[in-house]
């Protein structure tokens, strides 16, 4: 199954795009996201681990595990600087 992956700020610049599709095994959970993302987008290592992920526009807490479904919206969120 495919999920949408959104890139912002520095991760968007590194990606060269603001959006991509990530293929995951059916039944995958959010625990699979980080390893699969690092595999598919190895340049994410340049962020030095300083990013978090969101799922369907909610932050994923560290260690939190949810079952993913096709079409979910995942985002790579580098350190924020709004305001």
């Amino acid at each position: 199954m495919d999920v949408r992956v959104l890139f912002f700020a520095r991760s968007r610049e590194l990606a060269g795009t603001s959006e991509a599709t990530l293929a995951l095994e059916a039944g995958s959970t959010t625990a699979a996201l980080l390893p699969r993302l690092m595999e598919q987008y190895p340049w994410l290592a340049e962020l030095g681990g300083s990013f978090v992920l969101s799922l369907n526009q909610e932050y994923l807490a560290p260690g939190e595990e949810q079952v993913l479904k096709a079409g979910d919206e995942v985002a790579v969120i580098p350190p924020i600087s709004g305001g």
Partner: protein, 152 residues
């Protein structure tokens, strides 16, 4: 590498309003939005691009937002502020794109029956916004550009 296509989002319910927009922010609009016959106090905060950072001359800031999530988070901030401080009405807007020196990137307007509530909630909200809302700014200065990071 373009940012996400939709750069505008507006969400609201009875007493709360949140907006992410590339348009210049008009403080009066948000103050009018929180006007209320039961309000004795309106506090506002505007975050503005200033001309220097750590001794370097700032040319402009560019803001990028995870627009729909940012709008939802801003509305959530309004709700939290209303619940913690008994506000009358609450509005928060954040701009995207280029924000020149002297222009506002963010506007918060809260109304309450008594002054303490709106004032304290306004201070809390800008701190919380900087810590939780998925928005990024890139600073363009003489000879360079850099993605900023808010201090926790």
């Amino acid at each position: 590498f373009p940012a996400m296509s939709s750069d505008t989002a507006e969400v609201r319910d009875g007493t709360c309003f949140a907006e992410v927009t590339p348009e210049p922010l008009d403080l009066n609009k948000y103050v009018e939005m929180v006007a209320d016959d039961g309000a004795g106090a309106i506090a506002t905060f505007s975050g503005v691009t200033r001309n220097s950072f750590q001794g370097k001359r700032t040319e402009k800031l560019e803001y990028e937002a995870y627009v729909p999530m940012a709008a939802r988070k801003l509305l959530e901030l309004c709700h939290q502020a209303c619940a913690r401080w008994t506000l009358c009405k609450a509005a928060i807007a954040h701009r995207t794109g280029t924000v020149l020196v002297g222009e506002a990137s963010v506007v918060i307007a809260f109304s309450s029956a008594h002054r303490r509530e709106a004032l304290e909630a306004c201070h809390w909200a800008i701190d919380e916004l900087k810590a939780t809302v998925p928005i990024w700014k890139k600073e363009f200065f003489e000879g360079g550009e850099v993605w900023k990071e808010n201090e926790e």
